[in-house]
Symmetry: C2
Subunit: 195 residues, 2 copies
């Protein structure tokens, strides 16, 4: 027996990545076997290798796709006129984007150590690029006298950590809507940068 009726690669490929995303997020990259992923897709383990070179590439693809989407989405985001507007835009964007894809966020933060050196460097560069976007906003705000910061790099890391942290506790259908959460986080960010 081989190849079931009506199966197509345009379907199976995305399903492999979707299954890997869910399973990696839930159990961790090292704890998930190729056979588990295959079972989730409804296929034998060998068939996965039609869609990925190996397990490492599967992880790397998920992470790079996530980072690419993050950077591309931020570029498209309206940023307002002042640095303070841009900071608000960044805060709300970051929360919205991260709450929309908790699995990918989880993987991008937790599985860095399971990347090969080369792949790690690539992802790290993209992360630095994203951090640089926030730093640029803070620097502009500093120079315009809108913000009061003693260390831009530190403030940038603190803000990102605070915003990303929303993923650890927010649950859909909970006490607060996403909008309300974003409002309150923006209040805190604004206070933290002295504005």
């Amino acid at each position: 027996m081989a190849r079931k009726t009506g199966s197509h690669s345009e379907i199976t490929g995305p399903r492999v990545r979707a299954a890997a995303l869910t399973l990696f997020a839930r159990h961790g990259f090292a704890a998930v076997s190729m056979r588990q992923i295959a079972r989730e897709v409804g296929v034998q383990a060998g068939a996965l290798y039609l869609y990925t070179k190996d397990k490492q590439s599967l992880l790397f693809d998920l992470m790079r796709t996530h980072m690419d989407e993050l950077l591309a989405a931020w570029v498209d985001e309206p940023k307002g006129d002042t640095a303070l507007d841009a900071l608000e835009a960044f805060s709300r964007f970051h929360i919205r984007f991260h709450l929309e894809r908790p699995d990918a966020v989880f993987i991008a933060y937790m599985e860095l150590r399971n990347l090969t050196d080369e792949n790690f460097a690539a992802i790290e560069a993209l992360r630095r690029q994203y951090e640089g976007e926030l730093e640029a906003i803070l620097r502009a705000g500093q120079e315009a006298g809108e913000l009061d910061l003693s260390d831009i790099r530190l403030s940038s890391m603190a803000i990102i950590a605070m915003l990303t942290g929303v993923n650890t506790w927010y649950r859909e259908g909970g006490r607060l809507s996403r909008e309300a959460v974003a409002d309150r986080y923006w209040d805190m960010v604004r206070g933290a940068v002295g504005a």
Copy 2:
């Protein structure tokens, strides 16, 4: 051959935990084998089972010890008179404690999903207890009119995430001393809570 000269269990036990801590933090629980831990200690894999019931217990012990130490250290910390003093004490304590044991912190945050349900519940309870300490401070500050918060639970999570984030970028011997870092984080926390 068995039992090398001059070896003692009071020595080997802690060495097993120390090796596990380092290796789990570096490569992740699932990616580290009992044989790797044994090699680091300088012993055969079977000998590890004189010091731990199984691999899961090794992870759980590390995490529970870390959380116990965290809670005990906070109890002993001087907290000042006002809620604002207590918040400053908490912020500085959190940063100092976490920067002193990056491996344990990393494990406590990243390996929750590798705990059995029962062990997870135990660690989660301790984490909740620690979060509760901060919430109590915020609530007191709110009632005393020292702080301006729209949601105590949310503010608590945001502050902890921000403070813990220092571990992701701080490197010993870098541009800023631990003292300077704590000063700047406290500025940001104070601003975030509107004080």
